[in-house]
Assembly symmetry: C2
């Protein structure tokens, strides 16, 4: 990694933390520059524009998520074993990795959902790719594979339980959040096995 | 309603819209004052402090939700009929009432979940009251009533599907969002009838 690349990643990781905490619009270039020890004009040696930096932050947040949730499970057998591991790892992401600042992807979702444009497009693209990946895992639970519509319905429920877990855990401080989410998800897997 | 009260509600309704769109911290007193045709000092004739106003905004957002979702269903029979109507009305809240600016309660949830203090306490209190109300409706589905732990698990799933619907509809623009959420919820009601 060249020095410029390492600095770029350092800027993006700090920006991702700020976005998780305050959102994309409220995140301040001044604070970001200070946190990484650069001037504002120093920041822009690494990005063509503010929007280019915001786009890179969205991509970096999704990359962090993939590294954390997907990388450790990608060699597990398809279907139920891999889905269970992804779900647990995703709970860890919410409970541990995002404990201090919140989840950048969740923050981006709520902020951008009513703002059409290239930023929302980038976020949607990443989430749609991930949705397709998980649908394939549900389809792999049965032989012959589950129909696409059923896999989409199963994905909807899986994602819902993760959103429910995040709210119960982070906002409501519910000590049963993880247990509730896992129980609901395992029942879904049982139903999906058909 | 006295003139002062009417102005107070007008300020709070405008503030709720701004909070839904930008969050509590990013919402600007200057913009708020301009939107309701008052000076900043005029605003503070109605609230003792900025924090008192933020607290009132949280209460007003929850009041709006209750008026929209609960009032029309409160005379329906307990249990399944009322739960179905609440769920549909809640989908309408997300799809229609919050279409333009987003849901203020969702925005507050994501913003306040990592900020302990009186604002988060107020939000939690309202949500916990609503959770208890819905748990009682699940319990009323069976005679003898469903155990509290089972009602809590059913509530967790109901809330999850609503969060899943909101993300699928608002962020992903999924045309099947409502259908997916209703299908998942009706299957939950079937399972809950036992």
């Amino acid at each position: 990694m060249r020095k410029g690349d390492a600095t770029r990643v350092r800027i993006l990781d700090e920006a991702t933390r700020q976005v998780a905490q305050r959102g994309l619009i409220a995140a301040s270039l001044g604070d970001l520059a200070e946190a990484v020890g650069l001037s504002k004009s120093g920041l822009f040696k690494h990005f063509e524009s503010k929007e280019a930096m915001q786009l890179a932050v969205i991509e970096r947040a999704q990359e962090q998520f993939t590294e954390y949730v997907w990388r450790p499970v990608q060699d597990l057998p398809h279907g139920r074993p891999r889905l269970q591991a992804i779900f647990d790892r995703w709970l860890d992401w919410t409970e541990t990795e995002c404990a201090a600042h919140g989840c950048p992807i969740m923050a981006l979702s709520v902020e951008l959902d009513d703002q059409p444009g290239p930023l929302r497009d980038a976020l949607q693209r990443g989430m749609e790719r991930w949705r397709r990946t998980l649908m394939r895992e549900f389809q792999a639970m049965r032989q012959p594979p589950m129909a696409e519509a059923e896999a989409a319905a199963a994905y909807f429920q899986m994602k819902s339980y993760l959103l429910g877990h995040s709210e119960a855990k982070r906002l409501m401080g519910d000590p049963d959040a993880r247990r509730s989410a896992r129980a609901a998800f395992h029942a879904l897997l049982d139903r999906s096995e058909g």
